[in-house]
């Protein structure tokens, strides 16, 4: 191979490798940076609403896990008085999110969109969040728990 051809091939191969290695890295890096900015030092919890199993879950439900992973019901723990962020999305149909004991919501949760709530709960206790829109056969099972622990050290 002549050096000119070799140079062309090298540049082209470099472009390919940049795409194959760089794109996944860029997507992940941008997302983690964005969540870090959103968190601003606070814990962030992502909750997925799934009508098929009738559950709110913190198990990541994305394209490749949606069909085979049976999600665990969400159980979120925070400290009383500690600010935190809830990111809520639906992976199928319209849902509504609310925590009746705390007077939070109901908020619309659209499929494929994120609802981001910045919360701080001062009263320790076990709170249940639920779906306010009839979302399917398992609507009545759509519950998760938010456990607010007493202020710790």
């Amino acid at each position: 191979m002549r050096w000119k051809d070799g140079l062309k091939e090298g540049v082209a191969l470099g472009g390919l490798l940049l795409i194959f290695a760089g794109l996944p890295w860029a997507l992940r890096a941008y997302e983690s940076g964005r969540v870090r900015r959103l968190a601003d030092g606070r814990p962030v919890f992502t909750v997925y609403a799934n009508a098929t199993f009738g559950t709110w879950t913190t198990t990541p439900l994305v394209g490749w896990t949606y069909f085979w992973r049976k999600p665990e019901p969400a159980h979120i723990q925070v400290r009383a008085g500690q600010p935190f962020v809830l990111r809520i999305t639906s992976v199928d149909v319209h849902h509504s999110f609310g925590i009746p004991q705390l007077g939070i919501g109901p908020y619309d949760v659209e499929p494929g969109r994120f609802l981001e709530l910045e919360l701080q709960i001062d009263e320790p206790g076990l709170y249940t969040f639920m779906c306010y829109t009839v979302c399917g056969r398992h609507h009545e099972k759509m519950m998760g728990t938010l456990e607010v622990l007493g202020e710790g050290p």
Binding site: D5, K8, E9, V62, G63, W64, R87, G112
Partner: protein, 507 residues
């Protein structure tokens, strides 16, 4: 690349009036009109650079399908592939530029690059017998029995049967696209050239069919130059270009079905005998030659109707049958699959064949008893046989089918187009807002005009089908009166099909 070949002889330079029997009528050589275009297409890096952005995008689509939201309308895989790409492909690229998508398609690219062990340059073996390029892999020849597009037909029908899943579930689309990449890669290592594109790719099958109508076509300027060419560089390769990856010999090419517009022949031709021509849409000089191609035309037309019913129509039962993962109604799904396959492979071809028989009978009866027959026609000699009529009259279904597909695609784009803006800012459904358009609400564009546009497109398709049908009938029967009667049953069917689509879209 390496030293000049001792087999490459002097180029054939004598240029008498070019013989191009298929270039009848208003054909314009783009290379003569737009001079820089030829240089651009001869540039070795051109195809690589055309593929690269699409490779980037399709890689992003697959990553988005794996890692992004499973909600189709919020995932770039579904919105960009099945709304934007499909619409651009069927309404712009195919009618205007035929197989131009194949020039920049990333799906077979990895296999081809591995087969060539090169990304942009050429491996030249001047002393090799036959092909003058070195290819990596087993270099087997594709079996003769499969040298047709039946496999493409069946694969396309299979995908079409699962289309309700394919166009709504990102992960299913990712598996299909990923599967095509892997299959193309595997085949490239076993067989020489692009056998995946030529014989298996479901997209390539209909691109090839509809490329027959397209306004752009690559052809040799003069067949005689090709016949006298001692090197046949376009077919066998040269130091400047690879032998045609689509296994096409430019000296015989008079249809666009199997030319993938990779422009390798433009680079490897030693005689500067390749032209890129612009011609009228839906030209009448081309023809369907084989039964597999005729069936492709039937399948495409019937599927345009099936999709219109399933995706746009108000019939919930049919939708439920097609969408088996939502309903788990397997009996309904099997009924749907049987209806689709039966309509494509049995019902429509049978009806078409019967009408062709009627057309043959009417023209022969008229020739014998009513019109003053030519002596040869009176006893049946010189009459077109059934097979010829069947194949020739299947060509008008190509422009008719293409415009039916365009009419079907219009509401997909105009109704769901606003998703493109929101997905542009949030391609994976992760809550991003890159360009400030993530929260653009869903809003159909000009919904009141869509049925009007669909009607215009369908009637345009009917007009082109009738025009090509008339040209074919004149060519088959010579006598205009017999041609008119022979065409009538077929024209009746094309009219019925158009009215059926009009009813589906506007009724």
């Amino acid at each position: 690349m390496s030293a000049r070949s001792d087999v490459v002889t002097e180029p054939v330079v004598e240029r008498p009036a070019p013989k191009r029997p298929y270039l009848k009528g208003r054909w314009v050589d783009l290379f003569e009109r737009v001079r820089p275009l030829k240089g651009l297409l001869r540039w070795r890096s051109f195809q690589f650079l055309a593929i690269l952005p699409n490779l980037f995008l399709f890689y992003l689509f697959i990553l988005a399908a794996l890692w992004g939201t499973p909600v189709g309308s919020r995932n770039i895989m579904i919105v960009f592939v099945w709304i934007l790409w499909w619409f651009a492909l069927i309404t712009l690229l195919v009618p205007l530029a035929g197989r131009l998508w194949c020039t920049m398609c990333p799906l077979p690219a990895l296999g081809e690059w591995l087969q060539r062990l090169r990304l942009v340059t050429v491996r030249f073996a001047p002393k090799a017998k036959g092909f003058k390029n070195v290819l990596f892999g087993l270099n087997r020849k594709w079996p003769k029995a499969l040298d047709n597009i039946w496999l493409q037909n069946f694969l396309f029908l299979t995908l079409a049967t699962f289309s309700a899943l394919l166009v709504t579930r990102p992960i299913v689309s990712a598996f299909v696209l990923g599967g095509m990449i892997v299959l193309a890669l595997g085949l490239a290592l076993v067989f020489r050239h692009r056998v995946f594109c030529r014989y298996l790719c479901p997209v390539s099958g209909f691109l090839g069919l509809y490329a027959m109508t397209s306004s752009v076509a690559l052809r040799s300027r003069d067949w005689d130059v090709c016949v006298r060419c001692p090197t046949k560089g376009c077919m066998l390769g040269s130091e400047n270009g690879w032998g045609c990856p689509w296994m096409v010999y430019m000296g015989k090419l008079d249809r666009s079905n199997y030319c993938g517009l990779c422009f390798e022949c433009l680079k490897s031709c030693p005689n500067d005998n390749i032209g890129l021509f612009v011609r009228p849409f839906g030209v009448t000089e081309t023809r369907i030659l084989h039964l597999d191609e005729a069936y492709k035309a039937f399948i495409m037309l019937v599927l345009a109707a099936v999709y219109s019913v399933t995706l746009l129509g108000p019939w919930g039962t049919f939708k439920d049958w097609a969408n088996v993962t939502e309903t788990a109604n397997w009996r309904g799904f099997l009924t749907y699959a049987a209806l689709v396959w039966g309509a494509c492979l049995v019902v429509f071809p049978t009806v078409y064949g019967l009408l062709v028989k009627v057309s043959q009978w009417v023209s022969r009866w008229l020739g014998r008893w009513v019109l003053a027959p030519a002596p040869a026609a009176a006893n049946g000699a010189g009459e077109p046989d059934f097979r010829t009529l069947f194949l020739r009259f299947s060509y008008p279904l190509v422009p008719l089918g293409l415009l039916a597909w365009i009419a079907f695609s219009l509401p997909l784009f105009f109704v769901n187009g606003s998703y493109i803006l929101s997905v542009l800012s949030d391609p994976l459904g992760w809550g991003w807002d890159l360009f400030g358009t993530a929260h653009v609400p869903w809003k159909p564009l000009i919904p009141e005009w869509v049925p009007v546009l669909q009607a215009v497109v369908l009637l345009g398709g009917l007009a082109v089908a009738l025009r090509t049908g008339w040209a074919i009938a004149r060519e088959l029967w010579h006598d205009p009166r017999r041609a008119r009667w022979g065409l009538a049953p077929m024209a009746g069917l094309w009219l019925t099909v158009t009215i059926g689509f009009l009813w589906l879209f506007t009724g």
